[in-house]
């Protein structure tokens, strides 16, 4: 694939190294001349364009017209927003990935057609929540706002401990996909008995999360 990366910060650079390792073709648009020089010296197979990625001429020079994916990894939300919008509307890039700092901006990114959001703030806050809230139920990821994968830690007090899965009063719109038990993955069936300390991975459609939480944690 031909991947166009806008912004050579930590996220952008890590991504470039990973994608190069997987054999993809990479172009980088970066404003800082020192970063450009460093990339040219270190990774000479990357096409480097020195300039502002919010200027369509620079995206064009970097080959946006033939890019399969654009990754907007600049520091400011408004820059990533307009970079993705240009890529989609002016250059017909198939997939746009954007780094978002303010979670409140995520909806607007989705409305404008960004396919995938890298939300550093959301990831960090979810991790913190997971660490400090006992009985945690954590959303691992959400797909198009419609479907989520949840991780639920079963404590001894949970009403479902000791029950086989077929006896559970599972809400519609949810499925129990996997269990992590004592360092081993288990793909459960109806006869699998839940134990305290199980980490349960469940998939639910939007609106069923609370019912699932109630069913498993009481």
């Amino acid at each position: 694939m031909y991947v166009l990366v806008a912004g050579g910060g930590k996220i952008g650079m890590h991504l470039i190294r990973t994608l190069l390792g997987q054999g993809h073709e990479i172009a980088l648009v970066e404003q800082d001349r020192r970063v450009c020089t460093q990339v040219v010296e270190e990774l000479n197979e990357v096409i480097v364009i020195h300039g502002d990625a919010t200027n369509p001429d620079n995206l064009s020079r970097a080959g946006a017209g033939r890019a399969d994916v654009i990754v907007a990894a600049a520091g400011r939300d408004q820059d990533n927003y307009i970079i993705c919008k240009m890529a989609k509307r002016l250059f017909n890039v198939k997939r746009a990935v954007a780094r978002v700092n303010d979670p409140r901006n995520e909806d607007l990114f989705r409305i404008s057609g960004v396919d995938y959001l890298i939300s550093v703030t959301s990831m960090v806050s979810q991790a913190i929540e997971h660490e400090i809230v006992p009985h945690a139920i954590m959303t691992l990821f959400t797909w198009h706002e419609r479907m989520s994968m949840l991780e639920i830690d079963l404590q001894i007090a949970s009403p479902v401990v000791g029950l086989p899965i077929r006896k559970l009063d599972f809400p519609p719109g949810s499925i129990l996909a996997a269990i992590w038990r004592a360092g081993e993955p288990i793909i459960p069936d109806g006869n699998t008995v839940l134990q305290a300390g199980d980490e349960i991975f469940a998939i639910t459609v939007k609106g069923s999360e609370d019912l699932l939480k109630k069913a498993l944690l009481g």
């Binding site: 400011r76 939300d77 408004q78 919008k85 002016l90 303010d102 901006n105 607007l108």
Partner: protein
Amino acid sequence: MLGVATSLRDVANRASEPPCFAGGRPRYLRRLGWSIVSPAVILVIGCGRLGSNFAMRMAEAGHDVTVLDWDRGNFASYLPKEFPGRSFVGMEIDAEILRRAGIEESSVVVIVSRDEATNMMVADLAREVFAIERIIVRIDQPRLRTLYEEAGYEVLSPVLEAALSLERRVEAMGSR
């Protein structure tokens, strides 16, 4: 439809029309006893030379004007001390800040900061999140201007307007 009255007859004609406002000759109109046909609630985003100048004019004409800029220093640098409207410090691309600056009560949103990426994102926020219909957004980059015009936005390009004005003036000078 947004309109600026250019003569007294315009103002008289518009008096019977549904809410719009006249702002073209504020001082002149006031002297003649013509005040505002119907004051508009205007949110100006970006308090640079252009935003502050426009905000001051509209406020002097009697409109209800709020200016938003993330840089407090811009108010001191560009907005006259006697500005009768409100000024609001905050990040423009934050929907919560826009709400607190009164975007929901605004009949017109004028987005004229020097940062084009900010202007474009704020324009989309105003339209998609707050359903504002009257938006004027400053964009100079020609391809982005076209993109936003095609999306139905009222776009202002100071560079283009100045160039057109220069063209007209030079042509008017003739080829002596």
